[in-house]
């Protein structure tokens, strides 16, 4: 299973280019994202105070991040007081080891899982499998991905790249190998597909002794965890097993119970475009044995895995406000055409393009290409419910890639060198800057281009081919604007500042 993780993936441009040639994928993605875009806009427009909620959401997250140690310690205290056990994991390996040991201690060899980005990020399922423990994904889309031996491609809807016909085929072929087979004569009607998932998973829910989840929010003040979902698989995993293990990124903490009033309005409308999602579960530690409501044992694993590296970057830090709604993916024109797999991580789309290079660093070619996976159109920032200025962070990370500099890697301040493969570009950027800072040189260049304009080829060789493969070049005019101005306004000699730069 671990073979499917994103090792050895090509850089974004190559993976995206091959996705643009996959007509079915393009069709699936544009249909799905097109459906949700209009609905989100409508759900948001219902609230006259959306901008105020958005500002409050961003501010609460900023307050939390600036005092993250304080809030995590409060959280730990509250969870412990309510009967839970808190573990801290500095990286994926440590988190996987903690969870594996906890499951082993129960004596069980299978767990049911609620969809969780954190456990995708650390590839928990593969780690459990190596320990002889089978993890059953119970979210419909995660089930589709797991049965199809596939990778998730969207934060909210991991199987967004599959259409109903493909899903039917996967169910028919694979369900039997994992448990109850698909009903005979299963069609591609979404209601029938959902029914097939219900039947397939029911036996697993009813016998499960260990549940594994993430959480959307953790309340420092009360020790309460919150899981927002639609299908009821979350409720199953959170209430039926005897042991519950939640793996949650450290940035998911919010200070107070009252703060939930902001996020429970922002999240559903941004995510599934609903006034409220069908089910939200909130629990605080464990209940007493007399009540016997829900797991008797609760473990919370707090996950760093690069988050503190992002926290150390005062521009990049805002990426940790993210509440994983996926609105930025749904509006992104690049995501719509490249698909989620091209981003090579559990976090695709615009948020992935700023989160992954901060969590994993920019050493690999793929990770260094992610900040460039955007036309900087700003649609992501516009819809982000916690106002993450994704274009700003993208440009900031591009600077890190091409110029290097001070960053934090695994908690250590380090100076990184510029990424390889940008030498020609750097030279061109310097040359252009020099010309722009020496308008006389620019003018000379413009005049040369004008004089030779009949000779310009229509298709360029080398890097220029990337432009002319699909676009014609503009004709160079006979006279630049600058020359026209000089000629018609009788400007003579050198004007102030027209000489060289300083």
């Amino acid at each position: 299973m671990s073979g499917r993780v994103h090792l050895g993936m090509p850089a974004f441009p190559e993976a995206a280019a091959s996705a643009t040639r996959n007509a079915r994928l393009r069709g699936n993605l544009s249909h799905a994202t097109g459906t949700i875009r209009a609905k989100r806009a409508q759900a948001v427009a219902e609230l006259s105070d959306w901008d105020a909620l958005r500002a409050a959401g961003a501010a609460v997250k900023d307050r939390t991040l600036r005092h993250l140690d304080h809030y995590l310690e409060r959280l730990e205290e509250a969870v412990t007081a309510a009967g839970g056990t808190v573990h801290w994991a500095a990286d994926a390996a440590e988190a996987n080891r903690i969870v594996t040991d906890l499951v082993r201690a129960t004596g069980e060899t299978e767990v049911v899982k609620v969809k969780s980005m954190a456990t995708q990020e650390i590839d928990l399922n593969a780690a459990l499998e190596r320990a002889g423990i089978r993890a059953y994904e119970t979210d419909l889309a995660e089930l589709i991905v797991q049965l199809g031996d596939d990778l998730p491609s969207h934060i909210l809807v991991p199987a967004i790249h599959r259409n109903r016909g493909e899903i039917r085929d996967i169910f028919r072929e694979e369900m039997g190998r994992w448990g109850r087979p698909a009903p005979k004569g299963l069609t591609d009607d979404p209601a029938e597909l959902a029914e097939a998932a219900r039947l397939h998973l029911r036996e697993k829910f009813l016998r499960a002794k260990v549940g594994v989840s993430g959480a959307n929010f953790m309340v420092a003040e009360t020790g309460t965890l919150v899981v927002v979902e639609s299908e009821g698989n979350g409720r199953m995993c959170l209430t039926l097993p005897e042991t519950l293990i939640s793996v949650v990124g450290i940035e998911k903490v919010v200070p107070t119970w009252q703060d939930l009033e902001i996020f429970l309005q922002l999240l559903p409308r941004s995510s599934t475009a609903e006034r409220m999602n069908p089910y939200t579960s909130m629990w605080t530690g464990t209940t007493d044995s007399e009540t016997a409501d829900g797991p008797r044992v609760f473990h919370l694993v707090l996950l760093d895995n690069g988050r503190t590296d992002a926290l150390a970057d005062t521009v990049g830090r805002q990426a940790l406000r993210c509440i994983r709604c996926s609105a930025c993916l749904n509006v992104c024109p690049v995501y719509e055409r490249a698909g989620g797999h091209a981003y090579g991580s559990a976090y695709p789309g615009p948020i992935g393009a700023i989160l992954t290079p901060q969590l994993r660093g920019t050493a690999s070619e793929l990770d260094a290409s992610l900040p460039y996976a955007s036309s900087l159109c700003g649609a992501c920032y516009e819809v982000c419910p916690v106002a993450i200025d994704i274009p700003q962070v993208l440009v900031h990370l591009r600077e890190r890639v091409v110029e290097g500099g001070e960053v934090t890697v695994r908690g250590q301040r380090t100076t990184i060198r510029p990424a390889r493969g940008h030498a020609a570009e750097r030279a061109a950027m310097r040359a252009a800057r020099w010309a722009f800072d020496h308008p006389r040189a620019l003018l000379a260049g413009q005049r040369l281009a004008s004089r030779t304009r009949r000779l310009h080829p229509r298709r360029l060789p080398g890097p220029g081919r990337a432009w002319t493969a699909t676009r014609d070049l503009p004709t160079v005019p006979a006279e630049s604007f600058r020359d026209w101005w000089r000629r018609t306004r009788n400007v003579r000699g050198e004007a102030r500042g027209e000489g060289g730069g300083r």
Binding site: M429, F436, D437, P439, D472, S480, R482, A495
Partner: protein
Amino acid sequence: MRVALFVTCVTDTLYPGTGRATVDLLERLGVAVDFPLAQSCCGQPQFNTGYRRETEPLVRRHVEAFRDYDHVVTPSGSCAAMVRENHPRVAARGGDAALERVATEVASRTYELSEFLVDVLGVTDVGAYYPHTVTYHPTCHGMRTLGLGDRPRRLLENVRGLELVELPAADQCCGFGGTFAVKNAAVSAAMGADKARNIENTGAEAVCAVDNSCLMHIGGTLSRRGSTVRAVHLAEILAATEDGTERAAEDGTRRSTR
């Protein structure tokens, strides 16, 4: 009122007709416009690709060229956005507080053309005549960073002879994105193709925008597809009058080699 034209490097070098149209239009509206020759590029290509240190000298040059003017007008949404949003940031990141202060001042006096017309001059009918069917593409920086809203549309609606037709999925990026167009050429081309198809489906003779870099990509894509739809800058439409000063004609089809 001292008004300077910030023509932008792309318009200066490749689309001088847009610059001439902007001057014509402003002078027709009684604005004396100056063109400080010290100006060059706002540094957007460098900055957006990650070369902040290469951007800083250009920010310095820009604020020196424009600091003495009451208003700076530019026929480019993205260059106006670069000046307003990023020049102060570049200066701040470089640790130059004095530059940051001047850059912030210049930024506060910088207007994209439609903003200058509607907000500063208070006109929406500029007396233009353009007897063609036109569709309007709101560029990303114009729409989202500057918040131009319906200003360009209101100006177009008051042009005599002009029939404005709706562009489906207008708010979708055309796929230009500066160096994105070559770094992620396949996705850029796919976005451009969808934009071109939507434009063609309107049946318009021309597609209008407030940014020549986006128009270069859109026009180049349309032209390669063999489309007859022209890509025209808003300034050129607003400068056109009944007595025939349709400046765009001077550059022929202009947007491409076809």
